[in-house]
Symmetry: C2
Subunit: 392 residues, 2 copies
Amino acid sequence: MKIESVDFFYLSMPVIRDIGDGSQDALLVRVIADNGLVGWGECEAAPLASIAAWCCPMSHSACKPVSHSVLGRRIESPADIRALTGEVRRNSFDLLQADHTLSGVDMALWDLLGKRRGEPAWKLLGWERAFAKIAYASQLFGDTPVETGDKARKVRAAGFRAAKFGWGPFGTHLAADEAHVRAARAGLGPDVALLVDAGTIWGEDVEEAAKRLPVLQECGALWLEEPFVSGALHAYHELGRRMRAPLRTAGGEGAHEPFMARNLVDFGGLGYVQIDAGRIGGLTSAYEVARHAEASGVTYVNHTFTTPLALSASLQPFAGMESSRLCEYPTESSALARNLTVEKIEPTPDGEIPIPDRPGLGMDIRLETVREYLVPVELRVAGKLIHQTPTI
Amino acid sequence: MKIESVDFFYLSMPVIRDIGDGSQDALLVRVIADNGLVGWGECEAAPLASIAAWCCPMSHSACKPVSHSVLGRRIESPADIRALTGEVRRNSFDLLQADHTLSGVDMALWDLLGKRRGEPAWKLLGWERAFAKIAYASQLFGDTPVETGDKARKVRAAGFRAAKFGWGPFGTHLAADEAHVRAARAGLGPDVALLVDAGTIWGEDVEEAAKRLPVLQECGALWLEEPFVSGALHAYHELGRRMRAPLRTAGGEGAHEPFMARNLVDFGGLGYVQIDAGRIGGLTSAYEVARHAEASGVTYVNHTFTTPLALSASLQPFAGMESSRLCEYPTESSALARNLTVEKIEPTPDGEIPIPDRPGLGMDIRLETVREYLVPVELRVAGKLIHQTPTI
C-alpha cells in the first residue's frame, strides 16, 4: 500500500496546568493508505513544533521536513517501515524535532500494517508470543508525605502490585524526600513494589543523589529513576555502582533515538531502560532498544503517561520479553487521554496488563473525543498556507 | 537589563537546492533589552520548527516554549546567561527542538552583554586572551576526483594552510573515495593540511569506515570527521583505536547539548571535538565543551558552514585555547550568508583568522540583506495568531 496522507491532530485540555502531567495535550497522527486503511499513532511531544517538523520547508539536503521521506512511500512489510526510519533520520538529520514527529508516524504505520495483515504489531516486530506485564501505577508524589501515603493506600486498594511516585516536591530537601519515600512504603504495605522517579532533579550530581540511597534501600525500592539527565553517563554509572540490590538505576525516557538509550545501558550501567515509543522514533526504534536490552541482560520498561493508544504502542516493542515484567500504567491521565480510545487497557484483578492482540495497535479512536479537544493549527510561510488542521 | 523582546527572522535563498549546503537559509535572532541595546544570534537549525519551539503553547511543566524562560529576565552578568541555559533546559526538557532555538537566543545574549560591557564575548566567557586560528577552507567534495583536485588547487592558491572536503559523493564506493582523497592531496600539495568529512555515511559500521584508513594515512589526513552518527560511541572508539597518528577521529557537530559532546570525548575517544554553537545551545554550552576538551587533552574545533555572525559566535568559545589552532572557515556560503553582516572575517595572508575583539560578537547586521531574503512566518493556534514575523 502507498501512504496517501498523514494528518496531525493537536488535542488539548481547555486549561494546561504547570504540573508534570504530560497527558494534558496530545498529538495524534493518522495515516491513510491508498487502499483506504487507516493507522493511528501519537507523538509524546510538543504538538506545534512537531507539526512544524512535518511540513517545514527544506533547509538543505540533510534538513528536510519529515513529510519528504514519508508521503507516497510504499509500505508492504516490516522491512519497509524500518527502512523509512533510516530514511527520515538521514533526510532530517539536522532537524532536531524530527525524531518526535517520526515517533507518531512510525507508530501509525505499524498499526496500519497490522490491520492489513490481521496481526498485532508485536508479532510483526518479531516476537513469537506476548507476555502479560505487571502494571505499576504511575503517579506524581503528593504535595505532602501524608498525601503521598494516601495515594499509596489507594493504589494498593486498587489491586496494583507495583507503584511509582515521581516529580512533585521530590529531590530538593533530603528530610522531606525521606518522609515521602517512607510514607509511600507505609501506604503500599510490604508487598507492593515501590519505584521512585527523581525527574532528573540532580543534573549530574552523584553525591546529592547518593544521599537518598539509604532510605530507598531501607524501603526496598526497586529503582531510582532519572536521578540525572540522560546524557550524564558517568554519573549514572557511578550511582549504579553504589546501589545495593535490588535497588538499581532506571532511565532513558528522554532518548529520542536508539543510541541514547543504548549508551545509557552500555556506558551508564542502567538496571532498567525506560523507553517512550512516542519520543524515540516509534516502535521501530523502541524495538531496537528492547533487543539491545535483552542482549545486555537489562530490563526494558515502557514509559507512558498519556493515552491508551500510547500505552498499547509502548507495550508492543517488549511484548515478548518474558523477564521484563513491569509496565508503566498511567493512573492520573487527563479526560482527553482517558477518552481517546474506544477500547480501554485495564489491569486484571491480579494487577496484570495483557498485551493487546487485535490487529495493529488494537485501539479504535473515538472521533468525538478528537473533535471535542481539537486545537486547529495554521502555518503560513512566505504567505503560503503550508499546514492546516483537517476537519474530522 | 531586562529582555524586552526576542524576534526571529527566517531568511532563505529564493531556491533551496537538495545539497549539503547549510547556508541556503538562516534563522536570525534579535534580542532587545529595556535599555535599547540589541544583540544578534543565529540558530543553525530548521527555521520554522525552531520558531515553533519559541512560541508554542505549554504542554506541561517540563514542556514549555523557550520564550517562557527568556522574556522579561534580567541579564547583568555571565552568570545570568548561564543560569538561563539551565532554566530553558529544565522548562523545555521534553521539547526537543528547544536546544536549537536556545542556541540563537544564547548567542544574542552574549552579544548583548558584550556590547553593554564593551568587551568581546570570549572575554566574558572566561578567556584571558584570544589566539588567532588557522583557517581551514571548508567545502564539499567535487562530483568527480578531477573536480575535487581543482577545488584543492584553488584553496592552496588562495593561501589556506588547511582544507576540508566532505559530503558529496564520498563514502559509498571505496575506489572512488580513494581517488577523491588522492586528488585532494595532489591539489593541495604536500604542505596544506588535509581533513576529510564523511557526513555520518557509515552509520556505525566500523569495518566500512576502516577501509578508508589506508588512503587517509597515505595522504597524511589529520582527521576523519563523522564516520558515524553522533551516538555511536563504541564505533568511534574502535575506529580511533585503529588509526595511526596523526590521523584521528573528529565529530560532535550534531551535539545539541554538552553531554553528547562530552560523551564523544570520554567514551568515543575523539581526537577533535567539533561544536556548532548554533546547535549545542549557544556560547554557554559550547564553552562548557571547550573547557571539557581542554581538561581531556582533546582538540576543540568550531563547526560553521554559514554566516560571518555564526563564525564569530563559533570562535568565541575556544578563543583562548592556544593548542586548538584550526578553525572551520566556510568558503562556499550562499549570497545571503556572505552578505548578512557589515564586517567580514577574512583570513590573513598567512591563512590565519584573528578572533574578533569588538564588543559582543563584533558583527553588525546588514538590515537590507535581512529584508531581501526575509521569509515571513505566521503561526495560528486555536484561531489565535501566536507568531508573526515583525517588520524590519
